[in-house]
Symmetry: C2
Subunit: 504 residues, 2 copies
């Protein structure tokens, strides 16, 4: 039997009738509960049981469906029945050992670990995971299924490690004459248009750079979002852990967040020693401070869509409001970039407009085409960029069957990247182009995670990331800082430029 679960149920008292009391109830209850759980998928049985004083030990085995959900049903029904027949309750349960089998395509190249007690072997394309000392809470909370999924995911990642993401060219703009060859951030630094900020990877934009960033925002709104009927929302710029648990970001990119901690109290008396030390030493007493704030409680916005989904969570959208089209341009995004920072295009803080759309599959496919047209209009007619689009998918998703439509040649769920040539990085052929924009349809992943419903039918969602610093970098890298060389359409929106303060 592939799955084998040993459990111990603690009774409130030893039944006066001893094993007879159990014999009368358990085999029947177990058979019914297992049957209901399995529903003809393979076999499942109560392999053995034994009463030791107040502890009832039992073992469940099954061939296909895992038996731990049945265990909870057995516990519940036994509690009822034993209460009636023998005035004995079932206080709690624990699972000293639970062995689960699952198919494995390839033997692991390196050992795979889990942060809970376990033993894992892989032989002849079969993985055998023994979980040990599971609490009742862990069973209720379904740790066993998640532990198996995690092992499967780790094995899958091992086999695709080092492979590129899947990338297919979708389209290319005309080739453009480049009017600059220098790194635009360096050029702006030389003119004091920007100053490298007081904390890592963040920039202070003086009047001209700020103006140009806001011009990009204005273009995105007036040329893309307003014509397509998007409405602005304003969302909090802290993302709660609960939201990031639901989207999967907390397990996906925890090393890329800026975490936020709150003071334990505002009471000045509690802070007196801290403030006195600051006043006398003019330094931050780090240990004092650490003791006065709580543990990380949230993160600074990583992307805007999670909190927009949260806004809609638990709500049912009227037919007439579909597709729902909203965007946020207020929350500021932070990503801890560590070593990869460069100029204004790879930073720890950036300003992004994030349009989010919720509707039927057909509505979103249609909207994606309209968005592509409007973006193309901006990049071709106003910014006159040299750019291209590509269909991108992480390799492991490509292979996991999550994007089944891909196999039929349809491109439905997934992401289109917009990339711009940056002359300062080298030739068109050999240099890495800058991803300055993306456009995604994510299927029902988030509408399900946040329980967002339609009056009828399935709701999908998607989002697009308009990175304003990246629009600006792409533009200045190709057109330079001299306004005379800028395309006429852009000049009409951007000029006159504000004057910069003169520093001596």
């Amino acid at each position: 039997m592939p799955h084998r679960l040993t459990a111990i149920l603690s009774l409130s008292a030893a039944p006066a009738r001893g094993e007879t009391a159990i014999e009368e109830l358990l085999p029947r209850i177990a058979a019914e509960s297992l049957e209901r759980a399995v529903r003809n998928r393979g076999r499942a049985e109560l392999a053995r049981w034994k009463l030791h004083g107040v502890e009832l030990e039992l073992e469940l085995t099954s061939t296909e469906v895992r038996p731990h959900q049945a265990l909870l049903a057995i516990q519940r029904r036994l509690q009822e029945a034993l209460g009636k027949s023998d005035k004995v309750g079932v206080r709690s349960l624990r699972v000293p050992s639970y062995t689960l089998e699952f198919p494995v395509e390839k033997a692991p190249e390196r050992p795979v670990g889990l942060p809970i007690p376990h033993h894992l072997t892989v032989e002849h394309k079969v993985g055998r995971l023994e979980l040990r000392d599971l609490s009742e809470e862990a069973i209720r909370d379904n740790w066993p299924d998640r532990a198996v999924s995690l092992v499967e995911e780790k094995l899958r990642r091992q086999s695709y490690e080092g492979k590129e993401q899947y990338w297919t060219l979708l389209g290319e703009s005309p080739r453009r004459e480049m009017r600059a060859a220098e790194d635009p951030t360096e050029a702006m630094l030389a003119r004091a248009w920007v100053r490298s900020g007081p904390t890592k990877g963040k920039w202070f934009l003086g009047p001209r750079a700020a103006h140009l960033l806001k011009v990009m925002e204005k273009i995105a709104r007036t040329e893309v979002l307003d014509p397509l009927g998007f409405s602005e929302v304003v969302q909090p710029h802290h993302d709660s852990f609960d939201i990031l648990l639901r989207t999967g970001h907390l397990e996906g990119v925890p090393g890329e967040f800026y975490y936020v901690t709150e003071p334990k109290t505002r009471d000045p008396a509690a802070w007196e020693r801290f403030t006195d030390l600051v006043k006398i030493t003019r330094r931050v007493p780090t240990e004092e401070l650490a003791a006065l704030v709580g543990p990380p409680a949230a993160v600074s916005c990583y992307a805007q869509c999670p909190t927009i989904y949260w806004w809609l969570s638990g709500r049912t959208l009227a037919e007439e409001s579909l597709p729902l089209k909203v965007y946020d341009r207020t929350a500021i995004s932070n990503r801890y970039e560590s070593g990869g920072r460069h100029g204004l295009e790879r930073v720890d803080e950036f300003h992004r407009i994030e349009p989010v759309y919720v509707g039927t599959k057909e509505q979103l496919l249609e909207l994606r085409e309209r968005l592509r047209e409007r973006y193309a209009h901006v990049f071709n007619d106003l910014l006159e960029l040299e750019w291209r689009t590509a269909w991108v998918t992480p390799f492991y998703m490509q292979q996991s069957g999550e994007l089944a439509e891909e196999e039929s040649g349809e491109r439905v769920r997934g992401t289109i990247d917009f990339e711009a040539y940056l002359p300062y990085r080298g030739t068109r052929e050999k240099s890495e182009w800058l991803e300055f924009q993306n456009l995604s349809i994510v299927g029902d992943k988030y509408t399900k995670a946040f329980t967002i419903k339609a009056q009828r039918g399935e709701l999908w969602s998607g989002c697009s990331g308009i990175g304003l610093e990246r629009w600006l970098t792409a533009f200045l890298a190709q057109k330079g800082l001299d306004e005379a060389g800028w395309p006429e359409g852009f000049q009409r929106v951007a000029l006159p430029l504000p004057s910069e303060p003169r520093f001596l």
Copy 2:
């Protein structure tokens, strides 16, 4: 003698000539150094000295100027002279005891403490502070003067505790007919225009509320800032500790910050146990997380002006760029409000435009009048609010002589508060009006702290806080949510309203 400092200088070796070597040098060097430090303000002397092996103990006394700066000069000159005469160096110094006297107006009502070793007595209007075991660094870093200032400040605060801030009415708008009586946040909640956010004291604004907030922003820009020649800048939304040390915020309001911590690493291997636990348990493992992030390293923006001053730090502004007029509307402000939250007007996250101006005193006084005119135009002609202005000063500043011009009846440095009547809080006379705007001139406090200079003459600065949530609350509290009741001037800017999604 009011001030008495005992120091021990550690020599690199006992001088071969014993006390003779010291006798030849120290009395002369000490006399010269003390004379230079004191410059005829009272007397100062080397009261005694004694050589114990490699330790030279000495005692300095003085009547007015504190003698610790002279001690550093004595150390430096003795090091030079002893090196030449006896090949002996001065390795380090420490101050086992340093007693300082200062006048005190009133005996303390409660004991006053310091976070460094000390003993404090107050008798007959004289405070006597003995600091113990001061290191060389503490002397160099001038802890003694700061410790005395801190004691003086604590005593001053005790005497003004519980007293109101100084408040004088400057002007009042005409009385207006109130078109609403309800709390506007409650009214917006009832219509689902806003949703209370996923973390404390933060709001999600749906399309209508977001639109109205941005209309307020637009009015502030087009009716106040653009006509007066302000330029927009974009600043990082994290404030560094260094900046907040320079402005005094870190000692002033440390319990009101949202602190930011960075991951210790982005390396997924280091985060594997954390992510595995999240995947299996769907909870945040708090202790794991605390071990993976660093100590608080910065704060989420509290006010925008500190980082604007930082942008100008160390720079000299050309005459033609004065007065410099800039504003930021991008950084989002956070204040940890603890128990005091209410609706959209007292929140942990808010959106504010902060204009900052730097120029001569005359330029700033002139600019303040122009700003008051433009604000009055907005509040009277567009929003048609019932509002008033008041001159406000914290009571202890009022008394400390920091605002000397006040005594001559001139109102130069200080803050004008703009307050609006909120009908839902009660009658005009008895309810607390909402401070929805302020306007300050701060003198040279920040230009000095950040070394911002003019080609010639003294530079002053000031700032104004335009709280968009507060403008919106004041407006809706007086005019209601029904657009038909809104003033014509506001309607012209704000209508048509975007439609809200319909939830079932």
